[in-house]
Symmetry: C2
Subunit: 641 residues, 2 copies
Amino acid sequence: MPKVEIHPQGVFVEVEQGTLVSEALAKAGIQILLPCGGQGRCGRCKVVVEKGDVRRRSISRLSPTELEQGYALACQTLIESDVVVFVPPQEELIKHKLPSEKAVAERITLPFPCDWQSNPFVRAFYLDIEPPSLADNTTDFERLKRELTRQYNVTELIADLPVLRNLAQTLRKADWKVTAILEMHNWARKGPPRLIDVRPGDVTDRIFGVAVDIGTTSNVVYLVDLSTAQVVDTAAEYNKQISCGEDIISRIVYAKRPGGLEHLQRLVIQTINELIEQLCQRNGIEPEDIYFMTAAGNTTMIHLFLGLWPEPIRLEPYIPTVRHPLPVKASELGLRINPEATVDCLPSVGSYVGADITAGVLSSRTFETEKLTLFMDIGTNGEMVLGNFDWLISCACSAGPAFEGSGVKSGMRATVGAIEEVWINGNTYEPTYRTIGDAPPEGLCGSGIISLLAEMFITGVMDKGGRINRSLNTPRVRVGDHGPEYVVAWKEETRHKEEDIVITEVDISNLLRAKAAIYAGFRTLARAVGVQIADVEQVLIGGAFGKYLNIEKAIQIGLLPDMPWDRFKFLGNTSALGAYISLVCPEMREKVVEIAEKMTYLELSADNTFTEEFTSALFFPHTDIEAFPSVKKILEGRGVR
Amino acid sequence: MPKVEIHPQGVFVEVEQGTLVSEALAKAGIQILLPCGGQGRCGRCKVVVEKGDVRRRSISRLSPTELEQGYALACQTLIESDVVVFVPPQEELIKHKLPSEKAVAERITLPFPCDWQSNPFVRAFYLDIEPPSLADNTTDFERLKRELTRQYNVTELIADLPVLRNLAQTLRKADWKVTAILEMHNWARKGPPRLIDVRPGDVTDRIFGVAVDIGTTSNVVYLVDLSTAQVVDTAAEYNKQISCGEDIISRIVYAKRPGGLEHLQRLVIQTINELIEQLCQRNGIEPEDIYFMTAAGNTTMIHLFLGLWPEPIRLEPYIPTVRHPLPVKASELGLRINPEATVDCLPSVGSYVGADITAGVLSSRTFETEKLTLFMDIGTNGEMVLGNFDWLISCACSAGPAFEGSGVKSGMRATVGAIEEVWINGNTYEPTYRTIGDAPPEGLCGSGIISLLAEMFITGVMDKGGRINRSLNTPRVRVGDHGPEYVVAWKEETRHKEEDIVITEVDISNLLRAKAAIYAGFRTLARAVGVQIADVEQVLIGGAFGKYLNIEKAIQIGLLPDMPWDRFKFLGNTSALGAYISLVCPEMREKVVEIAEKMTYLELSADNTFTEEFTSALFFPHTDIEAFPSVKKILEGRGVR
């Protein structure tokens, strides 16, 4: 069997001939990033084969220079003899803290009044129970139930084994003075209230819940005091699944490996557990004090969270296993909160309009407004909903993660060092830029890319078809390994001083397709219900993407429709907010089911209108310039046709 | 740390000073029987300390000769220095097969008509499902549900994660032709039908259930074909918990040790799993084909089966954790049947009138008869119920396991070599006897003991107070280490040729108390409702004990009331039969709940009548000889006063 020597770790491992380098590294316990899930598409798992024979199944993401230097994609390269492999330092994405959510926490409140007190999901009751005697030898469980009836008029009660197993000892040790924590109702299981915990003494004020948004990129947890319905604190972290693929398609591909699905499930559970632990430590509570969890997320994320087989989501005709999974117990998923706590995933509409969107329609109040509303959540995927209190129609555009910096040569996530805004001088074509944290630049994040594209278009560095004008008199425009490109920052300015930060025509073409897909989505939805985009009275933008988006620039490239800026509202994490509302407000938990059932889902891949709209949108800002009057005006002002 | 050398195994082990010999043996992986749970009461865990210093905390069960020979009770002896311990061969109780139940299986049928087909607990539906398309992109789960509605009018359905996790792949591999197995209803969880399995193809005729009787001594499993409601086969085996204590009190004591409860639970689950495996292999089915289990057993056995803390059952005022535990999933208990199968324990009345008795009242039809009926189940404990269709009153006598051969010097269980019947010559006082399997005798089982006592009493070897007549001219009567005794078999006749088989006055005194407790139970129940024992129109005897009981002899010693023999009926395992009825007949599953709720429980330890009746019954057959006219006649015939 071939021996593999791995540097700089200095590890040896033996593998079968024909093993992938990525598998050999995994066997040696060395984690490398596989953003596209091992499909050879992203080119991020580059390693250097220093000695020995390998066979490269794909070299599409490698430049001739890299090939010469021995570079290979770990996920596409088969080991054929003893080899020596060098693993370059991996991006430290996972260790990177997300921008603090603590500041946000202070103003997270229910967006509408809710009578949560009259009928909460979880309630704590203090009981001072008469001890048993020969004359009154009712069982422990029935005695507790009898007291609940007497004092609080709770007449029915069930309890599962884990609670019953501790009951006899807890009652006696606590001298029959205990707090009973009850799940009062459960949307799916129906039936009577369920005893989920019995604690010694009076701890009726120590019941908590968590609302979780399981994003493809980042996971967010809100810690909620169930005795006041207030958000106490929040925490966010990158989803550890990123190491197995950056977008949902890559994750689904990864899930097909032996043990892949279980691994992905473990990673997301681990991410959430760590966030919960953080919140517990910071707020002086025990994980066992958390008695309820709601979760929102796209359909794939919910499938992976529950360990459901995701593959049919990826393959036509795109079928999830289930739209609205039954609540499960925390212990079944390995979540470290009270093991008897219910974990309730919000319902989705289909494979590509998930619980994050139904939660968003809830928290954005799209479901109850009289205004014609366009709700959108452009995250790793692009989903949108058009409608009002009366009707809702939704679709999903496979925009891909281009606007999150993925699939773009110098792309990166919105962390410190990312270029988030660019201005180009219309005469010299020299750019100036701003980076997150004012650090030396490392790459371009989503908002930086939009800004750059808008500037390049407006200044004529690139034409409406996305082609770079190579006749300009500037060293910024040149032909690189991947064709024509524009240099945003010279390598000397960058943090690592190794490579220029550029945008290539290939990147632009990817981005053009992504923005076209999104805008075509708007138009297709509007046409499906016979309205005009211009009729839309408000555009509500949820998701992390919205936070940094410059509306003006987004309109200039034709990503957002051209309308007065005051019609746009950024709502932040509408998915987490929807999960929070569903955690405390049973009425709204029912509402989200109604939303999911009522919402029409338009499958774009089966829609001719979309193809037509997509083609029309493959220009900056659009074939139909009349739809973008503000942009037309600028172009006319600058003499661009 | 002291070293322990163990013979004949030739094993060495190091332990802390002060460790019990039983613990040292456990550490060395040597299993010894602790029938009384390590309380030093039964004297069955004798070992020989060949070398070294030990401290004997109790020597009450050791004769002076034994002490001289170095004998010690493993559960009561502390190691103080390096020691050499000899472990005598352990009784091979566990390996012993119980009398085959196969013969019984052929005639196990429902004791009354039941319309099980119209509303079974579990049902299998064959479905030929339309595959999804872009135009019909309903989820897998909803598609299956839709088909169930279309073809079978099943409109509601829920499914837990383990089933959903396999759904997508099963449907596609089976080309959308599957059998859906549904739990149609569940007495406690209410709610809609639950999908418990999806199998490729049409396997609607492969759904099975098991009805289990969890006895303190033996466990019995009936395999039931749920598509016909027939018992297919049965199997029985000693409860592996026996190694931790023979009676329920010993087991409860054992459960208090660190890990004791978990160990006991594992043992009974293991016993049942092995029985199920046996049944599966014998009948060519897979454990996964078993979709439902019902279980009956006394309250302690059900607590140990579920892992509930049993201690308060043993301590005044004798309180169980729960009377009617919720159904649980097989996977929660580690039972090797379909992991999603429901395991449903029948309800009990109290700590000492358990689900075995409610099951017995059901299967014996005591609950619906117009005759005044005494139902009794004398197993390791003695429970009895008096009543009819209108009312039921029950009590439990702590008779102890004396009539199962425990606590009697030469006692043993009813296995091969046990003396099961004895006759004594009224002139020579020489006995003759019959053993199970006609093997050389090894000891006395329950029926043998009753037979022996009756003969000793009738022939005057023992008086009505249980004192042996030492003036008789026979070597059979003598004074041994434990006082006066009667020799039933000389050691030369026995299998091991080591010890005479005797009954001592101490044994007789134990047995007298046990029979007095049972008879006093009858009388106390009767007095409580104002009837006479003589008014009882039928005596229904359940449990293994009944199978071998000689009514005549049992009346002669005053264990059973003196009435025409045709009023006694032996019903066999009424507990297992009740579990079987509850498995196939939802109507009867509800009936057993009614029975448990309706039955009055008389706590004898709080009852003065009982104490009085007990004292009166401490004679053979009774202080009130008029209550035993048939015995009076014999005694008069033989000139005994």
